[in-house]
């Protein structure tokens, strides 16, 4: 049966599928394509005379690659026989650009298991080129989508590369000279599109990447009751510009070019509630936004025009641009701006065009603005009008706030200048009255000095301010007859740039208190604040307060008479680290382990905080890390003894301690401590000096009383006398003999020279100057001179006084001659030798008298220079003259 149908179709073009039912193939098939959207559209018809299919009819559509008849896409299209029109339409968007290769389309009809013949192939021809070309051209692609580009090469050409935005991409071979690459569009393109190349930067295309419209929140209203104005939010930027940017239609009518977020169209507003549809369209999509509104209930009034305000009665008038507004019941806001203070007042009425403003401050400048809305069906406030500025009339000033500052016999009457809100106009002058005197002062002066207050009347002072509207009520202050008794100040700590002050209630206070303040150590004009009766605390705040400055705050009780000083406080708004420096730091060693540290404290006027004490920091300079601390109270006035300090070198520094920390650091001072041994040496030196002085004193005394001393201790010894007669006559051999009388023993021993050893003979034959001891029987003690005689190599015999002094010491081979005692005996002929003689200074023993008898001496007649005979009177004392 099926074959029959086929045949029949072959013969007649119809297939008989059931009694009375004929299945025909598609008729008048046509294919269109849109390269911009890469879309294939197919239209076809059915023959109405053959349509007897009772239920649904299906058409199979196939898209093939023409070259190898590979199926690219197939789809079953369900059509309804009930449709009056027998013309059908189907479209499909190709992922592969249609230019890349030829595509063919065919279709057939299907009913149950019966199908018609395929329609003849309809082909969309791909592009061919002599040089590389990239397709599609100038496409617009949505971000985050995949997009296929293809490159068609010329005959015989090879694919070298395909690049997207200068990035090398993977490619696939489609067929023949056609290659494709798929790109994932990650981010929007710049306004001037992204380049895609094939083989060379000269061959390529350009792609725009963006988003479809994302507009939302459509709201339509009317401003002038003659047109509709719709607004919306544009949402995410599409990143598409120029011809690709979003276009808008409102209710099917195009909005003006370059529309971004609002569209205006003239309409009739009395159509009741209706839909307002905005269509937003760009190459990537279309979006519809809807709003339903009765424009008569969506009136947003335009701004009032020509707003005028009168300064006389503070009335405000304005005009409406649209006469339609004159019949509308509206509510209006009048906004008053006075020195930044905003006051909004509401008024309502039909076609409102003027209002009167009450309660405005005198002599003040206001700026007024108006905006209105419908009272019925209020939709939104309209636009604000332009601002209009006006000034109200003047009024008498408020009372002045008067106070006084007493210094000695003078009193300064002070008052606070009135603010703009208090003066109610321009202050022309101030009138000060005391006693029977009156003075007129002009702003900006706001004080008056009263030096004579000897009379009672002079204590009551009245001050008034005057402007064009009149004088203020008088402010009265009574100056105390006697100076205030001094009060001790209590410390107070500031907070948040001021002082929170509280005090005890004064029994004399009847009208409150006055607190005034000034820097403690500076001349100033006092500031004050008045506190109502019954309140004993106040927050003291002033723009002139400075951190780190000490203030004195005085609390006065307000009485029916003169104010009475009640309490005083001193404090800092905020204590700061001391800025002044501790001066004249000195360190001095006392004893072996005590150091006295002294300094000059920071003067009160330089103090930026209350000083609670001082801290001495010191450290051994050889161990800087070993810092030690001593706390000193303020009672110890600038000095502190540090004890138990080992001897070393130290560095000292002193800092002031305040509640905010340490500061006012002194310059460091270094001290090298001396050890105790130095003092011992000093004591020794002093002792030795004292001894030397004593010795000198004794010496002087001895010298002065020398005769007495000498007579007592060293009686005078007679000088020996040499006489010629003591010698024998000169013999032929040149010898003379000394006559020696037997020595008589006496009480005084006579110390003799070398001749005591016996007869001294000058023997020329014995060699050069040889002395010969002729007496060999001399006892040992008295002949030791001879024993000590030493023969030098030159033939000299030498006495050494040193060796004589220490008879048992070794004899030196060197001759130490004493010219005073040298005995030179020269023979009359050729004797040139000399003999050194030095007496035995230590030996004061008297020689044996017998020895003297045998002693002989041969002097040199012609030259007796060398002989000096000396004898010493020896006592037991070693002292000698």
């Amino acid at each position: 049966m099926l074959n029959c149908i086929v045949i029949m179709h072959t013969v007649t073009g119809y297939t008989y599928v059931a009694p009375g039912v004929l299945l025909s193939g598609p008729q008048n098939v046509s294919v269109n394509y849109d390269l911009k959207d890469q879309r294939i559209s197919v239209t076809w018809e059915d023959d109405p005379s053959s349509s007897r299919v009772p239920d649904k009819l299906i058409y199979d559509v196939e898209v093939l690659l023409t070259v190898n008849m590979t199926e690219v896409h197939s789809e079953a299209v369900d059509v309804r026989q009930a449709l009056a029109s027998r013309k059908y339409h189907w479209s499909w968007t190709s992922a592969l650009p249609l230019e890349c290769t030829s595509h063919s389309v065919r279709l057939r009809s299907r009913y149950q298991n019966y199908t018609s013949q395929w329609s003849p192939l309809l082909t969309i021809t791909g592009r061919a080129s002599t040089h590389p070309q990239v397709f599609p051209k100038s496409s617009v692609v949505q971000v985050d989508s995949n997009f296929t580009f293809c490159c068609i090469l010329g005959p015989g050409q090879r694919l070298e590369y395909m690049k997207y935005n200068n990035i090398l991409m993977n490619t696939t071979h489609i067929i023949d000279q056609s290659y494709a690459m798929v790109v994932h569009m990650q981010s929007p393109s710049p306004p001037s599109c992204i380049n895609v190349y094939c083989n060379s930067p000269l061959y390529g295309t350009c792609v725009y990447v963006g988003y479809p419209p994302g507009d939302r929140n459509l709201v339509c209203e009317t401003r002038d009751l003659e047109s509709v104005e719709c607004h919306w939010d544009t949402g995410r930027a599409t990143n598409l510009t120029k011809q690709r940017m979003t276009r808008y239609d409102l209710n099917g009518r195009a909005c003006p070019n370059r529309t971004v977020s609002n569209c205006y169209q003239t309409v009739r507003v009395d159509q009741g509630e209706r839909n307002w549809t905005l269509t937003a369209r760009n190459p990537l999509g279309t979006l519809e936004l809807r709003d339903t509104a009765d424009l008569k209930k969506r009136v947003r009034l335009l701004a009032p025009m020509e707003v005028l305000a009168s300064g006389v009665n503070a009335s405000v008038q304005w005009q409406w641009e649209r006469p339609q507004y004159h019949i509308l019941l509206m509510v209006c806001q009048v906004q008053l701006n006075h020195s930044g203070h905003i006051d909004v007042r509401n008024f309502s009425g039909i076609g409102l065009r003027s209002v009167v403003l009450h309660g405005l401050a005198p002599a003040q400048t206001y700026t007024v603005q108006v905006c209105c809305g419908l009272k019925q069906h209020f939709w939104k406030w309209g636009d604000w009008s332009e601002g209009s500025t006006f000034k109200t009339e003047e009024d008498i000033p408020e009372m002045l706030d008067v106070w006084m500052q007493i210094e000695g016999n003078q009193t300064m009457i002070l008052w606070k200048p009135l603010t703009v809100n208090q003066s109610h106009g321009q202050i022309k002058d101030y009138e000060v009255t005391w006693g029977r005197q009156e003075t007129i002062l002009h702003p900006p002066q706001n004080d008056f000095l009263i030096s004579d207050r000897s009379t009672d009347e002079g204590h009551r002072v009245t001050v008034t301010a005057k402007n064009s509207a009149g004088s203020s009520l008088p402010s009265i202050i009574i100056i105390p007859r006697l100076p205030h008794r001094s009060k001790s100040s209590m410390k107070i700590v500031g907070s948040d740039g001021g002082f929170n002050l509280s005090w005890s209630a004064s029994p004399n206070s009847s009208c409150g208190y006055v607190v005034d303040w000034c820097p403690t150590h500076k001349k100033c004009r006092v500031e004050w604040v008045k506190v109502p009766a019954g309140i004993t605390r106040a927050r003291i705040q002033s723009a002139s307060f400075e951190e780190g400055v000490r203030y004195t705050l005085s609390i006065f009780a307000c009485t029916p008479g003169a104010p009475e000083l009640w309490e005083r406080r001193e404090g800092y708004v905020k204590e700061c680290l001391p800025k002044g420096q501790i001066q004249r730091l000195a360190a001095e060693q006392y004893g072996s382990d005590t150091v006295l540290i002294s300094w000059t404290a920071i003067p009160p006027e330089s103090q930026t905080a209350f000083i609670h004490g001082y801290i001495i920091y010191y450290c051994d300079t050889s161990h800087l890390s070993s810092m030690r601390i001593f706390n000193v109270t303020t009672d110890e006035l600038g000095a502190k003894n540090l004890t138990g300090i080992p001897v070393s070198s130290y560095r000292f520094i002193v800092k002031a301690l305040t509640s905010v920390g340490e500061g006012g650091d002194s310059s460091p001072v270094f001290l090298q401590m001396n050890p105790q041994t130095d003092q011992l040496i000093t004591v020794i030196i002093i002792s030795l000096g004292s001894a030397a002085c004593l010795l000198a004193l004794v010496t002087i005394l001895c010298y002065r009383n020398w005769k007495c001393v000498k007579e007592n201790m060293y009686p005078k010894i007679p000088k020996p006398v040499w006489k010629e007669e003591w010698l024998t006559p000169l013999e032929s051999n040149g010898r003379q003999i000394l006559y020696v009388d037997p020595c008589q023993p006496s009480e005084i021993d006579i110390v003799c020279n070398r001749e005591q050893s016996g007869e001294a003979v000058l023997d020329n034959n014995a060699g050069k100057g040889a002395l010969t001891n002729t007496n060999s029987d001399v006892p040992a003690l008295h002949v030791y001179y001879n024993q000590l005689l030493t023969k030098t190599t030159s033939g000299h015999f030498t006495f050494s006084p040193h060796t004589m002094a220490t008879p048992f010491s070794q004899l030196s081979g060197t001759v130490i001659q004493n010219p005073s005692y040298n005995l030179e005996v020269q023979a009359s002929l050729d004797m040139g030798q000399s003999v050194g003689y030095e007496p035995d200074m230590n030996s004061f023993s008297c020689p044996n008298p017998e020895l003297h008898n045998t002693m002989s001496y041969v002097p040199f007649e012609t030259d007796s220079r060398g002989y000096k005979f000396q004898c010493h009177i020896e006592d037991s004392s070693p002292l000698q003259e």
Partner: protein, 203 residues
């Protein structure tokens, strides 16, 4: 007297030639910079070189030609360059804005202005040699097909080619004018010659 006048005119012409040569050299540098800015703005690959058919069509500048003819051809080429540049500026708006627009546009304006000055200088040189009769009619401006309806990529490439032409012809002008100048060098009063390239004043 006539001889004196001739020498004075000749001296003035030499000075003008030298100044025009200096201006052409300066403009060539500006064109190079403009081309680079454009390449970066449009993210063209660095290896992009445009060759083949030229947009500016003038007969070849053979050394056999007289100085007058060479000047004339240069003037014609520069005239075409200016027309192309004007069209490029107009068409570029359609491509869209992007990249460092301000610097690029400033450079483009500099090139446009200086090209006008160079054309005026070259015209003066031609007038010195051949008189104003040489400009009746003006040199024909060969219409060059532009991708008005083409793809944005083709348009971008076409503008790039225009800037390349500008670079080429300003270099050619600079060299030719230097060759025409008797000293073969720019005059002493020309300040542009020795100026560092990286520190040019832009208008």
């Amino acid at each position: 007297m006539a001889g004196t006048r001739t020498r004075r005119v000749a001296g003035s012409e030499q000075s003008r030639t030298a100044r025009a040569a200096a201006l052409a050299e300066e403009l060539h540098h500006e064109c190079t910079l403009l081309l680079e800015l454009y390449r970066k703005k449009e993210t063209f690959a660095e290896e992009l070189t445009v060759g083949g058919e030229r947009l500016v069509t003038v007969p070849p500048l053979s050394s056999q030609l007289s100085p007058n003819d060479r000047l004339w051809r240069l003037y014609s080429a520069l005239q075409q360059c200016r027309n192309l540049l004007e069209r490029a500026i107009g068409l570029e708006e359609g491509v869209g804005n992007g990249g460092d627009r301000a610097q690029y546009e400033s450079q483009r304006k500099t090139v446009r202005d200086r090209l006008g000055h160079l054309l005026a200088s070259t015209r003066l040189l031609l007038e010195d040699r051949a008189g104003t009769a040489a400009f009746t009619p003006d040199p024909k401006n060969t219409e060059t097909a532009s991708p008005v309806n083409g793809s944005p990529f083709a348009l971008k490439l076409w503008i790039y080619r225009i800037f390349s032409e500008l670079e080429h012809w300003t270099l050619t002008t600079s060299r030719t004018l230097k060759a025409l100048h008797p000293d073969g060098a720019t005059p002493k009063e020309s300040r542009t010659r020795g100026r560092p390239r990286g520190r040019r004043t832009r208008r």
